[in-house]
Amino acid sequence: MYGRKVKLRFFFVLLILIALILSVFLILKSLEENVVYFQSPTEIKALEETEKKKIRVGGMVKKNSIFIEAKDLQFVITDFKNEINVIYSGAVPNLFSEEKGVVAEGYLKDKNFFLATKILAKHDENYMPPEVKAALEEK
């Protein structure tokens, strides 16, 4: 039906695509550790030794864990399996609050203590008007 050249061009494109997909997949697979923007407390616990370089820890701010003392802010990041204590001094984003997503950038003191140099808020994919939120909470 189609000419030989058309078929050849079709297979040529197909081969390029397959080769590209496989190589990109391999690259991303091997770079997995660096592609993630932050690690969860569970992943931190699983580390063999505490890293000295700057890392990011992310998860939820545990309920009733925010504690402000003079300039220092303390709170607990949880992924509902493991927890890590964070100490930070400085400004936090508006969306930073309990039971909301957070990403802390800084250094590990040990596996339970994290000295943050920067706090970022990670918000979730839920969008709704305040009235709806209030109605949901009443339920």
Partner: protein, 235 residues
Amino acid sequence: MFKFLEPNRIFSITSKAPRYVFILFIIVFFIGLFEALVLSPEDYKQSHSVRIMYVHVPAAWISIGIFSTITFLSIIGYIFKIKNFFLISKSLAPSGLVFNVIALVTGSIWGKPTWGTWWAWDARITSMLILALFYLMYLISWRIYDDNDKVYKISSIITIFGIINVPIIKYSVDWWNTLHQPASINIFSQSSIHESMLLPLLIMTAAFALFSLLIFLMKYNTELIKIKNKGLDRL
């Protein structure tokens, strides 16, 4: 078979269309803006800054959609040697790049008040930046090569390389930990965005699509005029 592809015939339609598309765009755009800025409610958490979403998300969708279309047309055009498809791709690309840049810039503006940073090298944001680079490469390739056969091949190859990035953009938020939130709108399951906010989002998407169509028609007409001036009667 390709009689309907005669430049004169296409031109008789595409030269009149921009006027109507422009009027439609203006109407839809202002309805969308009114919905987004006045009628839609503020978010329970982000309050008014959520309104940036009504520009950010449609712009990202359109730029990804246009890149996918360009790739599809380029591959089909390359396999079956359909010259017209390359010209359509070439005319589509600029609005895709513009919306890509808009998505990046509004994302940055949105990121500062919500996340607390202008930029983060997370997978979603970086892959979106890579898409912009592919758009640039694609557009530059058209300027570098004067030989038609060469530019068709090279621009097609660029789109094939670039398309690998598109599923990465889509699924980056599911595959890896990212600062960017996961998708709110799912075709197959319940969306996690309230209807009153979904409506302006969809209207703005329609408005941006119309704007892309308008820019496309203007660019495409220029291409057709160039062909006519060269005295070629077929694409």
